[in-house]
């Protein structure tokens, strides 16, 4: 009898917990079901020292401003490499059990890889869930895995069409609003001047996934240990139908992205457009000085003319579970991406994730001399509100990106249908996932 009662008590507790979780679901007020920010404030008051790994150029100014505001907190700023290099070091530190930072920059596409094995702190325990309303929907969903919050978004990369106005004016080509028009523009431009190409693409996993995202595809879904991969869904098919024509029609420049030649071709009009994230203006200004005054920004072309975009790139700051002072680390993350850290970030050319900053008149109305005085943020902020919903990356996206070249890259090289490469990519990803302890199903 006593046993029975205890079981009932447990059942009641479980029910209560389930209810509490339900209340805490994003649709309702998140703050109630989670912790409070008191411990974070206390840690900030107590002071201490934390280590921060990042490669963003804004970090130096941000850390200086933070230390001025909180003189009893010391932040050791470390550039542990960009992207992949940093992740390798981070992975090693996690495996070793020590030597990692307290706060670390992680791209949205890499976040699940570190969140799922339990290497990151769930920031809901500090009540950060209450910040949801302050961020764009797409960036917020990028930092939440299941019901847990594994970082606060810093920058975002809603996609837009960057185009070389000089090229378009010279050959009388209209700025494309749909992908069909984009295809026509590609043919027209290349016919008018065979040395010019509508864009460059030699197969890039980040670009490919973003394009499938925009086309409404959901190739990856993860539920605990179960992963579903379908790189032949409607979205993927929609995109490959357009892109196959560009690749097989030899309408794309085969210069490798981010190489010196690529920057040069962006500057001299060889590459007429780029479909990429809102962080691109900063790259243009620092690396494509020859293109100043020639480029402009328009919304990303779509399949039906209705505005829809996708995210490309962008990162969050997370707290590592290894941290000896997670509350202080969380305080720093809060300051960085939900406090005074945003101002120096924008000042150094960053594209923020917080809606208040994205929609502030000063930000929206800034005329950019590089883009001939165009108010580019009008277009980019609009794109951030039009990002297609429901996307998620693979929990092992970094590995997936590495082997992309072996499969989809081959399709680009041989000029065969991209769909075939995607199929081979999927097969490798299913194998790998199953080897690493997931239960992966295809289709």
């Amino acid at each position: 009898m006593a046993l029975f009662r205890r079981h009932r008590a447990i059942a009641a507790l479980a029910l209560a917990a389930a209810l509490a979780t339900a209340c805490g679901s994003p649709a309702q007020d998140t703050a109630k079901a989670t912790g409070t920010q008191d411990s974070v404030d206390a840690a900030l008051k107590a002071g201490g020292s934390i280590t921060y790994w990042t490669w963003t150029p804004s970090a130096k100014a941000q850390v200086a401003a933070f230390e001025q505001e909180y003189p009893n907190v010391k932040v050791n700023l470390v550039n542990a490499g960009t992207g992949k290099d940093q992740y390798t070091k981070l992975q090693n530190a996690i495996k070793a059990g020590s030597g990692g930072p307290d706060v670390v920059q992680i791209e949205y596409q890499a976040l699940p890889q570190f969140a799922l094995p339990g290497s990151l702190v769930d920031l809901n325990q500090y009540g950060f869930g209450a910040f949801q309303k302050d961020y764009t929907a797409s960036t917020w969903s990028s930092v939440t895995v299941g019901n847990a919050l594994f970082g606060l978004p810093q920058d975002s990369g809603p996609m837009a069409l960057f185009y070389n106005k000089e090229d378009f004016d010279k050959y009388g080509i209209a700025v494309p609003k749909t992908w069909d028009e984009y295809l026509d523009a590609a043919k027209k431009l290349h016919a008018a001047d065979p040395t010019k190409f509508i864009t460059s693409d030699t197969g890039d996993p980040g670009f490919t996934t973003s394009m499938i995202w925009q086309a409404g595809g959901h190739p990856f879904s993860t539920d605990g240990r179960n992963v579903k991969i379908n790189l032949n869904d409607q979205g993927a098919q929609k995109w490959t139908k357009v892109w196959d024509q560009l690749v097989q029609g030899k309408l794309l420049s085969t210069v490798k992205g981010w190489s010196d030649d690529w920057y040069r071709e962006l500057g001299d009009g060889t590459i007429a457009t780029l479909v990429t994230g809102a962080w691109m203006p900063g790259v243009f200004k620092s690396s494509v000085t020859a293109g100043s005054g020639k480029w402009a920004v328009a919304p990303m072309p779509t399949y039906d003319g209705q505005p829809v975009s996708a995210e490309n790139g962008g990162s969050a700051q997370s707290v590592l579970k290894q941290s000896s002072n997670p509350a202080l680390a969380a305080a720093f993350v809060r300051w960085l991406n939900h406090g005074n850290g945003i101002k120096p970030f924008i000042a150094s050319g960053g594209f923020p994730s917080t809606t208040a900053d994205l929609n502030s008149p000063a930000f929206l109305n800034a005329a950019d001399p590089y883009f001939g005085g165009q108010q580019v943020n009008q277009v980019l902020t609009a794109a951030s509100g039009a990002v297609a919903k429901g996307w998620s990356y693979l929990p092992y996206q970094l590995y997936a990106n590495t082997i992309f070249v072996d499969t989809v890259g081959k399709s680009y090289l041989d000029g065969t249908a991209i769909g075939g490469g995607l199929k081979a990519w999927q097969a490798s990803l299913v194998d790998y996932g199953n080897q690493q302890g997931f239960t992966v199903s295809a289709g």
């Binding site: 390798t88 197969g203 210069v255 490798k256 970094l398 590995y399 890259g409 690493q436 302890g437 997931f438």
Partner: protein, 303 residues
């Protein structure tokens, strides 16, 4: 010790003490050797017997499971055959060029031999990464020398970074880098050929070519064997050149272009440390066998 007379006890003690003392002298080397050579090998072998699941499931002992997987791995053999082809073509060309250069400088008929020796050796002194980047600019078919040549010829004839040419292009870089190094090995071996032998050959009426074939070449066989073994090992370990050219030749160089690149990407991109160790060990064993076979053959000829 078992003889009926038996050595005096003191002597036995002395021998034992001397033996112990010997270990004291060897100890500094033995410790460093164990720590830096044996320990990593043992560790890698230990790793190769397990399978660690990066996300869920932890580590399981799989015995030789990784080895059977590696031996049936199409990617691994693809990489292996590629470096084998590279070895078969590039190493003979490079060593022949190095030999010719060494003979030319040794012939004493060359003006400014010291200058040539320096210039041919110079590429070896250029850091490998810099050398590859430099060649990358030359190979570039958008803005490099290759692009200029294509422009001149009016067609896309020169494509050093295309799938059909990439291995040749890498071979060219490696040859450029290591001809001088091998030349120096051969040249220093030629320097110690006894002059009386060459003089005797001349008195017997041997011409330059005959002297080279019958006197000089046999005299430096040891050096040739050593250079060949170095080159074989270098070819099997090909990594730097393709890994750097990856950023210039999209899609052409896969993640398993060479066995070393495959092991590297398995480990650092895929977190498959165990399988990566297995691939490295299999490759190491194959390299050792081939190098040993070459050495045996070199010795047999010498007899």
């Amino acid at each position: 010790m078992t003889s009926t007379v038996g050595p005096p006890r003191i002597r036995v003690g002395a021998v034992r003490a001397r033996g112990r003392r010997g270990w004291i002298f060897v100890a500094p080397f033995a410790v460093v050797f164990a720590l830096t050579f044996l320990a990593p090998l043992v560790y890698a072998f230990g790793l190769s017997l397990f399978r660690d699941q990066a996300f869920f499931g932890g580590t399981v002992f799989v015995g030789l499971g990784n080895y059977t997987q590696a031996l049936a791995d199409a990617n691994f053999w693809d990489a292996f055959l590629r470096v084998l082809l590279f070895l078969a073509v590039q190493v003979p060309i490079m060593l022949l060029m190095a030999l010719i250069a060494a003979f030319a400088i040794d012939s004493a008929r060359l003006h400014a031999a010291g200058f040539f020796r320096m210039v041919i050796f110079l590429p070896y002194a250029v850091p490998g990464v810099v050398a590859v980047l430099m060649w990358g600019f030359i190979y570039g078919d958008h803005f490099g020398l290759a692009a200029d040549l294509n422009h001149l010829l009016g067609q896309d004839a020169v494509q050093p970074l295309s799938a059909n040419w990439i291995l040749t292009s890498i071979g060219n870089i490696v040859t450029w880098e290591f001809v001088g190094y091998n030349m120096l090995i051969f040249y220093s071996a030629l320097k110690v050929v006894p002059p009386d032998q060459i003089e005797a050959a001349a008195i017997d009426g041997a011409g330059t070519l005959r002297t080279i074939v019958s006197v000089k070449l046999p005299a430096i066989r040891g050096a040739i064997v050593v250079a060949t073994i170095f080159s074989i090992i270098g070819s099997f370990q090909l990594f730097n050149e393709p890994n750097i050219l990856r950023s210039l030749a999209p899609n052409v160089i896969t993640t398993y272009f060479t066995p070393n690149m495959y092991a590297y990407n398995l480990s650092f991109a895929g977190q498959q440390y165990n399988y990566s160790a297995t691939v490295a060990i299999v490759m190491g064993v194959i390299t050792a066998i081939i190098a040993y076979a070459v050495q045996l053959r070199g010795q047999r000829k010498e007899r």
